[in-house]
């Protein structure tokens, strides 16, 4: 069922589908569909229990399936889907982060009305709408199936061996996220603005991707990644198509990771979305998009690496510098973490710039460490509240180290991990990608990255200064220290950050195995 397929298209023989190997994807997809049904038929209160349990159960089952599949190295479903070690590694990662995010969404203790998701997406901004939105004890439970759909897209995104399937996956992962961004209970206007911006810019970038896909097909006569790679230099067609394809597809993918100059949506969307959704986006989407970038650039455009390397260098440098410098000027903590996410995307691109196996290993390891840390950080943010919702303005965090030392200590630790201080996972991750980059002759890039790390350290440290060295506000925020799901998520994320900093070897081994077994072509 390999190369002869194209010739057989007239007969349209249905490709054989290896259901067992696709089981993680299928489980999550079915769970999403059940979720839609549950939302249609179950009682309002019952939904709020069934949905999160269903979603979490689905993620756990899919994770088990991923674990069972380890070692598979095959192209499935008419070469459309690749199940190989990197794909499985990233699918597993996405599932873990999705599970943690569901815990955050399911939180009902934090807001007086019970949760970060609005009662109804139709509630408009404005005085009347705000009151209704705040006081209703209900929530739009479609958020759960939407999340699960998005996870399906992410899992397919990292496993697609075919640009068309990749595009479909991109849409499956993005569309639910556009909706989720607009579901914040508080600050509806900001949330809807975020959803709108994300949607418009996202649609635009998808169009770029699709356009690039068309050029790739025009050049190679196929949308399969492996065939594009073989076509490079062997087809008689002009290389202009190929370069256009690389550029346009890169725009689409860079948009998803928030690389400069395609980053402008990131701060607004991170700030406006409900915090659990922000956490999900920050961790999950980044893994998915990097998985796709790695696959496309390592396989399809691998033979071209000397052509795209300068572009990648430029984008990486811009991303790191812009992310780190603009984060300095932020006064909203979610926006600050958004710019920090941009800077981290830059660091990840540095690992990619090494274009070697070590780079793949480093990037995969980094994605895991970053995801845990960032989910925990957003969880902590949602624990610090005023009567007006989350205390997202930095000035409200003043003196928190005095009033609630545990939370401030945990948050400081997470910030140090993001800054890359040794003995945190952030440092190990940075080390892994920088080592790959130096080994791949990208030393200047690493020096820039290190300077940017120092700049970035400044704004992380600024928050620590604010929390520990400033006097508390008279009407400062309240920290929720009840044992809640959010609390647990923050704890898990922090623990992972510590463990991966002190004893990273098991995960490194895993990433190493995955990277050295490589992509299936």
């Amino acid at each position: 069922m390999s190369a002869s397929l194209l010739a057989q298209t007239e007969k349209i023989t249905p490709p054989s589908i290896e259901y067992s190997s696709l089981s993680p994807l299928l489980i999550v997809f079915v769970v999403a569909l059940i979720g839609v049904l549950v939302d249609a038929f179950a009682q309002r209160e019952a939904r709020r229990v069934i949905q999160p349990v269903l979603a979490a159960g689905g993620f756990i089952a899919a994770f088990v399936a991923v674990a069972v599949l380890h070692g598979r190295h095959a192209l499935l479903a008419a070469n459309a889907v690749a199940i190989d070690a990197p794909a499985l590694f990233m699918q597993g990662t996405i599932l873990v982060f999705a599970l943690l995010s569901v815990l955050l969404v399911a939180e009902r203790q934090l807001d007086s009305a019970g949760g970060a998701i609005v009662a109804s997406a139709a509630i408009t901004p404005g005085p009347k709408g705000s009151t209704a939105a705040r006081t209703s004890a209900d929530m739009q439970t479609e958020a759960y199936p939407l999340m699960v759909f998005s996870v399906t897209g992410m899992m397919l995104f990292v496993a697609s061996n075919n640009l068309l399937v990749m595009f479909v996956a991109l849409e499956i992962l993005s569309l639910p996220l556009y909706l989720l961004a607009g579901l914040a209970r508080r600050r509806r206007l900001l949330s809807q603005e975020a959803a709108m911006k994300y949607f418009l810019l996202g649609a635009f970038s998808s169009a770029f991707f699709l356009y690039g896909l068309a050029f790739a097909y025009g050049y190679a006569g196929s949308v399969e990644l492996g065939k594009i790679a073989t076509a490079v230099g062997t087809t008689g067609r002009t290389d202009a198509y190929l370069y256009l394809a690389v550029g346009l597809i890169a725009v689409g993918l860079f948009f998803k990771i928030g690389a400069v100059p395609f980053h402008s949506w990131t701060p607004d969307v991170y700030q406006g979305s409900p915090t659990p959704v922000t956490a999900f986006m920050a961790a999950g989407t980044k893994v998915a998009a990097f998985g796709a970038i790695l696959r496309v650039f390592y396989i399809a455009f691998g033979p071209l690496r000397w052509d795209w390397r300068p572009v990648l260098w430029t984008v990486a440098i811009l991303t790191m510098v812009v992310g780190a410098v603009l984060a300095l000027t932020q006064r909203d903590i979610k926006r600050m973490l958004a710019y920090s996410a941009i800077a981290h995307a830059g660091f990840l691109l540095v690992g990619l710039a090494g274009t070697n196996t070590d780079g793949l290993r480093g990037a995969m390891f980094y994605l895991v460490t970053y995801g845990f840390t960032t989910i925990a950080a957003f969880a902590v943010i949602s624990l610090v509240r005023t009567s007006d919702g989350e205390a997202s303005d930095l000035s409200q965090w003043r003196g928190l180290g005095r009033t609630s030392p545990l939370l401030a200590g945990v948050f400081s630790f997470l910030l140090m991990a993001l800054a890359g201080i040794p003995l945190t996972s952030g440092f190990t991750g940075k080390f892994a990608v920088f080592q790959a980059a130096i080994e791949g002759d990208a030393t200047p890039l690493v020096v820039v990255a290190l300077v940017c790390s120092a700049i970035a350290a400044f704004f992380y440290v600024r928050v620590i200064v604010l929390m520990f060295f400033s006097e508390p506000l008279a009407d400062g925020p309240v920290v929720i220290t009840r044992p809640t799901l959010t609390f647990a998520t923050a704890g898990i994320g922090t623990l992972a950050t510590l463990v991966l900093g002190v004893a990273p070897q098991p995960l490194l081994d895993l990433a190493n195995t995955a990277a050295s077994s490589g992509f299936v072509r």
């Binding site: 603005e193 303005d393 009033t403 600024r462 200064v465 506000l473």
Partner: protein
């Protein structure tokens, strides 16, 4: 005896104790202090025992231990001691209990109502219909003023203006610092060294930021952040060089390693050496600090609590000079040669610049910080003169500077604790009121200016003699720096201790208490003891230093000079 894992024990004891102490509630302040003191004294005893178990003339690292940590990157937990690291560990073990004892009452005297919690942690609960929340418009544009570190404080709670500072946390930070310092000096894996190098920043950062002088919050934050950012920047440059070394080792040895002994055998091309050298050197020059990288030190020194300042200048900064002789010179001999003129020039500038600025200071803590800049100039001079006398002298200088400047900082701290100000103008004529304190300051000062008979003389003399055989002009110029040292030390003493008592408040100052005497007594004993009989220390240090220089092909130009080191025989 060598099977005892001395270094791991020395590292673990304070680290474990730190966790225990940090877990103590605030009200058990006294117990926390007692426990900390006991632990640090145990560490001191262990360090002394380890010194007796050490064989000075045996080559290589002793008490060595090695376990894989992250095999993927060739990283291991590897520790070992040579003469240089051993004396610095000893210094660490000595200074930390001294600091604990000297800081005993530091946070007891702060005004605070025992019943008043330090913040609105409990009372405020935002009701649903509560008043308008703070924050104003959180619009996406966010065009308002950014929150800056040094921004004027927003309205704060009056009751929290004089916050209680947690003594257990303070003690835990000291213990973490001690563990980290032992780790830095003991690590024989470059990666492990880097980890400790960065890890000791964090406790110091909090010591400055949270426990510095009360009422100077903006300056404290500024100093703490400046310290951290400077050090992090240096550290990150070093990280680039560390990874670079790893990649070179991967090319030459087949698999990458961070093992110092293996890295030493690499044959690195001069061009690469220069880059890697610079990465390490800038980090160490910031840490030490050498002349153009020093601007964080006066701020940090002035804003740290006195105990923190002693550790900062006495120990943390030694990590920089230690790094120069442990890593820069042996790993990059060609580059060290190439950059030696630059380093020596910076060292000479530092000697004069630091001394001149010290003379001009009004704040005693800043003054002592600037004197350190001058002293670090001497140390760098000795290290890069590439003779075993100068090198031995420089290592001794590290120890002696820790003792003399440490004592000077302690005395200054005693003064500040009595009068509440570091301004020299607030003192004068104290020798009549507090003779013991004045005498202690004199001893510390004389040691600082390297009076014969004090410890510093031996090291400074060795540095200058060693430098003389390397380059006469440099040695002569540097000698002039001693004159400046006399000026800053004596003028400090004169302005604070002699003359008439100009402020009424000074008439009733108490002299040193028994606790304070117990703090200074061992320091004074060592200052004089090592001044008269430095041989034990030299015996430990000298073989290592000689081996370091010999390994990189630097033999002493001794045959043309009759100067030989006669420890103790300087009369």
């Amino acid at each position: 005896m060598n099977s005892v894992p001395w270094l791991t024990i020395l590292l673990l004891v304070p680290a474990v104790a730190a966790v225990v102490v940090a877990a103590l509630p605030r009200r058990l302040a006294t117990q926390a202090k007692q426990l900390t003191l006991a632990v640090t004294l145990v560490v001191l005893v262990l360090a002394v025992l380890a010194t007796f178990a050490y064989h000075p003339n045996r080559a290589g690292f002793q008490f060595a231990q090695r376990y894989d940590w992250i095999p993927t990157f060739g990283i291991s937990y590897a520790v070992g001691a040579d003469g240089i690291s051993l004396v610095l560990i000893l210094l660490t073990a000595l200074l930390v209990p001294v600091v604990v004892l000297s800081s005993w009452d530091e946070f007891d005297s702060e005004p605070d109502g025992p019943s008043g919690p330090s913040g609105p942690s409990d009372g405020v609960v935002p009701g649903d219909g509560g008043g308008s929340g703070p924050g104003g418009d959180p619009g996406t544009g966010g065009g308002g003023t950014a929150v800056l570190v040094a921004a004027p404080p927003a309205p704060v709670v009056d009751a929290a203006a004089a916050p209680r500072r947690s003594v257990p946390v303070f003690c835990a930070l000291l213990l973490v610092l001690e563990a980290g310092l032992v780790g830095v000096f003991a690590a024989t894996d470059v990666f492990l060294f880097y980890v400790f190098f960065e890890a000791i920043l964090i406790p110091m950062y909090f010591l400055i930021g949270s426990f510095g002088p009360a009422g100077q919050q903006a300056q404290r934050s500024y100093a703490a952040v400046k310290f951290l950012i400077y050090s992090l920047l240096g550290g990150l440059l070093m990280l680039a060089a560390v990874i670079g070394l790893y990649v070179v080792s991967a090319e030459q040895l087949g698999s990458g390693t961070f093992d110092f002994a293996l890295l030493r055998q690499l044959d690195i091309t001069p061009g690469v050496q220069k880059l890697l050298f610079l990465g390490f050197f800038v980090a160490f020059a910031i840490k030490a600090p050498l002349f153009p990288f020093h601007t964080w030190l006066p701020d940090a020194g002035a804003q740290a609590p006195v105990g923190g300042a002693v550790l900062l200048v006495g120990l943390l900064d030694k990590v920089g000079t230690f790094g120069l002789i442990r890593y820069c010179i042996p790993l990059f001999p060609d580059a060290s040669d190439y950059f030696a003129p630059l380093v020596l020039a910076l060292a000479i500038i530092g000697i004069f610049y630091g001394a001149l600025l010290a003379i001009g200071q009004r704040d005693m803590k800043r003054l002592v910080s600037y004197t350190s800049l001058a002293h670090f100039g001497f140390i760098a001079l000795g290290l890069f003169a590439f003779t075993s006398q100068a090198g031995t002298g420089a290592v001794l200088y590290m120890v002696n500077h820790g003792l003399s400047t440490g004592l000077l900082f302690l005395v200054v701290g005693f003064l500040i604790a009595r009068r509440g100000t570091a301004d020299i103008g607030a003192y004068g004529g104290l020798a009549k009121v507090t003779p013991v304190l004045a005498g202690t300051m004199l001893v510390a000062g004389l040691s600082s200016l390297a009076l014969p008979g004090t410890n510093s003389f031996v090291s400074e003399f060795l540095v200058l003699v060693g430098t003389f055989t390397y380059n006469k002009a440099l040695a002569i110029v540097a000698t002039a720096g001693i004159v400046l040292a006399a000026i800053y030390v004596l003028s400090l003493y004169q302005r604070t201790m002699t003359g008439p008592i100009t402020h009424e408040a000074n008439r009733t100052l108490p002299d040193l208490s028994w606790r304070e005497k117990a703090v200074v007594a061992p320091m004074i004993a060592l200052i004089i003891g090592l001044g008269v009989y430095p041989k034990p220390l030299i015996d430990i240090v000298r073989p290592t230093v000689t081996a370091t220089y010999t390994d990189v092909g630097k033999s002493d130009p001794a045959p043309t000079h009759p100067v030989t080191v006669q420890p103790g025989g300087r009369s």
